[in-house]
Amino acid sequence: MNVFGHVISWPQLYGQLLIGLINGSFYALLSLGLAVIFGMLTIVNFAHGAFYMMGAFGAYFLLKLAGLDYWWALILSPFAIGAIGAIVERLFLKRLVGLDPLYSLLLTFGLALIFQGLFQNFFGASGLPYAIPKQLSGAYNLGFMFLPVYRGWVIVASMVVSFGTWLVIEKTKLGAYLRAATENPTMVRAFGINVPRMVTLTYGFGVALAAFAGVLAAPINQVRPGMGADIIAVVFAVVVIGGMGSIMGSILTGFVLGVVEGLTKVFYPEASNTVVFVIMAIVLLIRPAGLFGRAS
């Protein structure tokens, strides 16, 4: 194949598609968390990238300090980082309810810088290694390409967690509480539901999703203080494209844009780092509320 003067081979195409799907898995998990948080708290959580990074460090600490392996980390790290998120909500974000969203934006942005700075201070900017768990090492031969087992796992895990979250929000009683409180928190409280606690837990859950993505990422990239800052700009673009607060929108947009980015790398590598932002600009011009968002 010859496109734009590049000679493209099929293995190269499959390879980039796979990388695109992997990146999309992270975009989906991260933008999903942002959407969940935005829906309930109407805040743009700029600390999301930092929590993602802390999730990866959580896995690293659990291994180094407690000897707990990847599988433990997959559960414990999101739990711990989610708890930190809940504390952040209780201590800081709660006080900003009703104020201009700019305040919570600045607060979470400041927190992100502090968290990242702290980790950089103690661990330097370079990465710490985290090995792929032995159950997930090796590769499948799919006939047309080799699929590293771990990468396949990341895609599956991300899809299961993303769609599971969607199911809970759209189809369960708990999800109905969340949707109702998103629309009219006062009325939900007037039915006897402790909405402030629900808000805290929702923020904690969104943060836990970011930390979960961080644990998934640890064996792929190294564990680095800057890993969150690197990915978060694209994730915010994904959220804008998908539409703020749309759960399914953020999941689908995450996966699709990962793939689009991968394909761009094949067909027009020069644009691969900017294609998401170009799409964002176009979407903002045509549908300011995002592809799946409802105009308000």
């Binding site: 009683k173 109905a176 509480y177 949707r179 109702a180 998103t182 629309e183 009219n184 006062t186 009325m187 939900v188 409280r189 007037a190 039915f191 006897g192 539901i193 402790n194 909405v195």
Partner: protein, 243 residues
């Protein structure tokens, strides 16, 4: 049981004493005194902006700043949070109905948790009162007509087991035939022993179901009387309500 016990007036379910309320800096309620007795239907009248909705919201705990006393079954509510008040058995059907558009009718109906084991209406009983709702269960909450929304808003608080209901202008903006249906429903609820505080502009409607009236003006109660005294109050009401 001694005969005298039946002769006594029923105990007050709700008592407001010197209730004041503010929205930010604006002082809206200037000392409201009001009581609702067990099994009674009390109607709060008053012209637009008199503070009727603010009174109900203050009882529910929704108004941020309030002072004075609100007792519910002798329990002080003034410092309790909204959800605590709700869990004591106070239910509000708000003026704007507040049907959740992102939830189906069914989800709306079953959203409020049961706050009491006894006294909660079964779904079947609710569908007998509001047959229209059964057919609309899978519709989106945003797709209902005004009348259907009002019925859903009332039905929604009947399922919780709350025995004290506050209904804020349930007939507002509805067609006469729907108003009649809602009137019959409220009368039925009263027969079933619910205690009801109703806000209405339409006192002809209220006269058919109320035991007592309170009239509000500028954040105060300006008159209170029993339904039987209504004929003698007509001139005052026309004046106070501007109708």
């Amino acid at each position: 049981m001694p005969e005298a016990a039946f002769a006594q007036t029923p105990a007050a379910v709700l008592k407001l004493k010197g209730l004041q309320a503010w929205y930010n800096e604006s002082h809206i309620l200037h000392g409201v005194d009001l009581d609702v007795r067990e099994g009674e239907l009390v109607t709060l009248l008053g012209r637009n902006g008199a503070g009727k909705t603010t009174t109900l919201k203050s009882i529910m705990g929704i108004v941020g700043k309030r002072s004075g006393s609100i007792t519910f079954h002798d329990r002080e509510l003034i410092h309790l949070s909204i959800d605590r008040i709700a869990r004591l058995g106070v239910a509000l059907c708000p003026e704007e109905r507040a049907i959740f558009a992102s939830l189906s009718v069914k989800e709306n109906l079953f959203l409020p948790p049961e706050i009491a084991k006894t006294g909660a209406m079964t779904a079947d009983r609710i569908f007998t009162l509001f047959p229209n709702l059964r057919e609309r269960l899978s519709s989106g909450g945003g797709k209902l007509s005004g009348g259907e929304q009002q019925m859903l808003a009332i039905a929604r608080i009947l399922r919780t087991g709350a025995r004290f209901l506050m209904l804020d202008e349930p007939t507002e903006g509805l067609a006469p035939v729907i108003i009649q249906q809602i009137g019959r429903t409220i009368a039925e609820l009263k027969r079933e022993g619910f205690t009801i505080l109703l806000v209405e502009q339409n006192f002809r409607f209220a006269a058919t179901i109320a035991d007592r009236f309170f009239v509000m003006g500028h954040g105060r109660i300006i008159d209170a009387f029993a339904n039987s005294e209504l004929p003698g109050k007509m001139d005052m009401l026309h004046e106070a309500l501007g109708v």
